[in-house]
């Protein structure tokens, strides 16, 4: 009796572990299929003409340069707006905050902001910046809406990075007669910087891939924006319109591949910084 019970115990164990392996394989498989499909269909498009020239003709033939410029412009502008605020907010939560009503409210607000659907953030950008503040469709309106979307993300990664700095290193600094800000600015932030940068880069990847927020704040007019007050169509929006239109699919695949490569680049840079930093610290 004993052995049979032990046998089906090991078989269930083996089956269960098999299922777990399947789950992992399915996950990697899903990623693989998507990447492979987009690469296979999009690689043909990645000619310098496609990347650097403007779309023309009935169905957006030609290149997608203005959308690339619009995407980079709004992403960088959003980063410039939100990163300082997010990092300093994280410094407050990690270093200065004393457990109390105020901190709970801030944390709840940050979590809520992080879970706002991007379509709602898009309409907010439209109501607040495009119409409310009369900015009209512009890179600035989109950057501000994106800034609110990214704020909680960067706040969280920065706070984790700051908390990862060991306590006794801080005390080492205090022990030398450093003030709080001296300790934070000269010891804590510098040693947390690599992880903070990683968080910022990943957030940039999220901003670059955003559609719902930018479509209602930057509009869809093909334009390589120079001034923040100008409208423009980003790559994700271009992909959406091409896909919905459904005629010029090669351009859609090309845009999708460029988007994925851009996100891949963000991810790999972030990963590189983390590994280089870990090696440097020894």
């Amino acid at each position: 009796m004993q052995s049979r019970e032990r046998v089906n115990k090991t078989t269930t164990n083996r089956i269960a572990l098999g299922v777990i392996w399947l789950a992992a394989i399915a996950t990697v498989g899903a990623l693989g299929t998507i990447l492979l499909y987009v690469i296979v269909n999009g690689i043909g498009q990645l000619t310098p003409a496609f990347i650097f020239s403007w779309p023309h003709g009935v169905n957006m033939e030609g290149g997608i340069w203005p959308t690339i410029q619009a995407t980079l412009y709004v992403t960088i502008l959003a980063m410039l707006i939100t990163t300082p605020v997010a990092v300093l907010a994280a410094v407050y939560l990690a270093e200065y905050a004393v457990q109390g009503r105020l901190v709970q409210i801030i944390r709840f607000a940050a979590d809520s902001l992080a879970s706002v659907p991007s379509i709602v953030m898009g309409l907010f950008g439209l109501a607040a910046f495009v119409e409310g503040m009369g900015m009209g469709f512009s890179v600035m309106a989109a950057a501000l809406a994106l800034a609110f979307l990214l704020l909680p993300i960067i706040m969280r990664t920065t706070e984790e990075a700051i908390r990862a700095v060991p306590k006794y290193i801080r005390w080492g600094s205090y022990g030398l007669g450093a003030s709080k800000w001296q300790t934070v600015s000269r010891i804590v932030l510098p040693s947390a910087t690599p992880r903070i940068i990683t968080g910022v880069i990943l957030a940039a990847g999220r901003a670059a891939g955003e559609t719902a927020v930018v479509i209602y704040t930057m509009g869809t007019m093909i334009n390589a924006p120079i001034l923040p007050t100008q409208p423009g169509r980003t790559m994700p929006v271009h992909l959406l319109l091409l896909a919905q239109e459904g005629i010029n699919l090669p351009a859609a695949f090309g845009t999708a591949l460029l988007l994925v490569l851009m996100v891949l680049a963000f991810n790999l840079t972030a990963r590189y910084i983390v590994s280089r930093n870990r090696r440097m610290l020894g």
Partner: protein, 274 residues
């Protein structure tokens, strides 16, 4: 309390040539509303090494941190009684703990060099307090590393990260870092418990050299170390869990280890408990 106990409580050793660097009067310390230390009165001798010994958890480290207000970093702590440094109460309102900590440096159990180069580690303190010129910094850095008995081992690798050194070297780097801000007092919280024996020897040697110009207070649960390095020893004990710890006996190291006045001190140093 028995009469004899009361007399030791005064913590003042009448016949001695050293003046009191710290004079602590009726100090009580609270974590929230838990009274961790009670009624501590002791005079810590200037330019001498004083050891705090006692079983772990008897509050000797906590008391050490009262001397340079490091406990302020822990939210919800407060203390009563007075801690006088050269006659001035460090907890008086308006006293700048930042300046206090510059004058009363601290070394921790876990070596904690900054994630920077060796040079920057030692130069961090002086830079904090306004030293800008490189020549001046170089001079301070070299002097401090020499005083910390680690110069020969690091002088050619100043650019390397502090964390790449061995445990013992790191601890001496931390000592050099503190010396760079010319403290008057050096508090050492079990500095040798996490480092290799040869480094322990070097740290103890440098304590002997430093003590002629710096007051040193060392917390250790290693009685042989206390006997070797200290001139005076204070024995702390928390007799009942949950009850506050207090100072049992304070005397010259020689007499504490040869003829302890209090039976509990004798039990502790003969290893009968704790």
């Amino acid at each position: 309390m028995s009469d004899t106990l009361a007399s030791h409580m005064t913590g003042v050793i009448p016949t001695d040539n050293h003046a009191n660097k710290f004079s602590v009067q009726k100090l009580d310390f609270f974590y929230g509303d838990f009274n961790a230390l009670t009624d501590i009165t002791v005079g810590i001798k200037e330019n001498a090494v004083t050891a705090f010994i006692g079983p772990s958890g008897c509050g000797k480290s906590t008391f050490l941190r009262c001397l340079n207000r490091m406990n302020d970093l822990i939210p919800g702590t407060r203390n009563e009684g007075r801690v006088l440094l050269d006659g001035n109460d460090v907890y008086a309102p308006g006293v700048d703990p930042v300046d206090l900590r510059r004058r009363v440096g601290m070394i921790f159990q876990q070596p904690n060099p900054f994630p920077m180069s060796i040079y920057d580690n030692v130069a961090y303190g002086p830079r904090l307090h306004g030293v800008r010129k490189k020549a001046e910094l170089d001079e301070i850095v070299e002097a401090s590393l020499k005083r910390a008995n680690v110069w020969k081992e690091v002088k050619d690798i100043m650019g390397r990260g502090g964390l790449t050194l061995s445990g013992g070297q790191q601890q001496r780097l931390c000592i050099a870092r503190v010396l760079a801000v010319e403290p008057e007092v050096l508090l050492m919280d079990e500095p040798c418990s996490a480092i290799d024996p040869t480094s322990v020897q070097k740290v103890e040697d440098l304590m002997a050299e430093l003590k002629d110009r710096i007051t040193i207070v060392i917390v250790t649960h290693n009685m042989q170390q206390a006997a070797r390095v200290s001139d005076y020893t204070a024995f702390f004990l928390q007799e009942v869990a949950g009850e506050p710890a207090h100072l049992i006996e304070y005397d010259r190291t020689a007499s504490i280890f040869t003829s302890p006045r209090d039976r509990r001190t004798e039990d502790y140093i003969t290893g009968r408990f704790g």
